[in-house]
Symmetry: C2
Subunit: 153 residues, 2 copies
DNA sequence: GCTTGACCTCAACTTAAGTCGAGGTTGTAG
DNA sequence: CTACAACCTCGACTTAAGTTGAGGTCAAGC
């Protein structure tokens, strides 16, 4: 068997706090088995998983979505290159969408804020791409982080 | 005087919940004066301010940063086009940085996750642009939302 | 002049992604 | 075999950006 890692070792080698590793485990993002004394031991692939988690987070993906994506990895065997590849495909596509959205936003920003046209009702920034189109008054749903559903990727 | 608006009217016309308007006021993002009966009344420019707040949020700017930026607007007079323009300049620049960062991330994603090179120590995604370079083990500072300081804009 | 809807304050709750500390156990080096 | 570092669980705390509700007041139409 490959060498097993303790939480502390994983923490050092992944650059993630022990508390975060515990947290990820409670959220089902990583797994461990326990020694007789109830201490966690990790297989080598946990480092890869943690790396994926951090990269995905940096890209703006929530832990819930990451969990869903990681859940699509094979359960029995160690994931191979194709498995990881499938993951990255979906995220790269999502990233593309997000980049496009930001570009649209940037292009509209100067126009909209700067020029005085920001009229709330017909401004292209306030209503980007028709979303939130016509829902009447009252609170809109929270649209701060515009990441789409990519759990199925 | 231009017509004054109640919170409810501002809520309907801006598409923001009354509770959010109260919240923005406690945070110093908008102001009101009060009637004899202690009810809020807003000037017309509040709609503009709220619009800016929502647009900026969509772009990923925090309320604290928005507050700082709005604080740079003239206090006595109603902000004019140039004032708003100065605001948008800084944010557009920040947006550009963010877009570039995301593009770098996307380019690295397939390479890094897909190809099997994701080695934690020397991966270009795990250490994008040298930040977080060498700080030893232990918890890193929170770097989930990579927006830079733009309060001064 | 009263009823009803809009408004007021304040405190508690929410979610995400963890951190921190207390109090107790394990494992390993000397 | 003992000391001490590393581990365990659990609950409370943090920040952002609000929402929800309780308990009470204001204002406008009939």
């Amino acid at each position: 068997m490959a060498k097993e890692l303790t939480v502390g070792q994983v923490a050092v080698r992944s650059g993630v706090a022990v508390s975060a590793l515990h947290f990820y485990e409670t959220k089902g993002l990583i797994q461990s088995h326990r020694t007789g004394g109830n201490q966690r031991r990790y297989g080598g692939d946990v480092l890869r998983r943690v790396a994926i988690i951090k990269v995905a987070q940096e890209v703006g993906i929530s832990l819930a979505e990451i969990r869903a994506a990681l859940a699509s990895l094979p359960d029995g065997r160690t994931p191979n290159r194709d498995d990881w590849n499938a993951l990255s495909q979906g995220w790269a596509a999502d990233l593309d969408r997000r980049i496009l959205q930001l570009q649209k936003l940037r292009d509209g920003l100067t126009d909209c804020i700067g020029c005085g046209c920001l009229s709330i009702d017909r401004c292209k920034l306030r209503n980007p791409g028709d979303r939130l189109a016509e829902e009447g008054p009252g609170p809109r749903r929270l649209v701060v982080a515009p990441s789409r559903n990519l759990a199925g990727a």
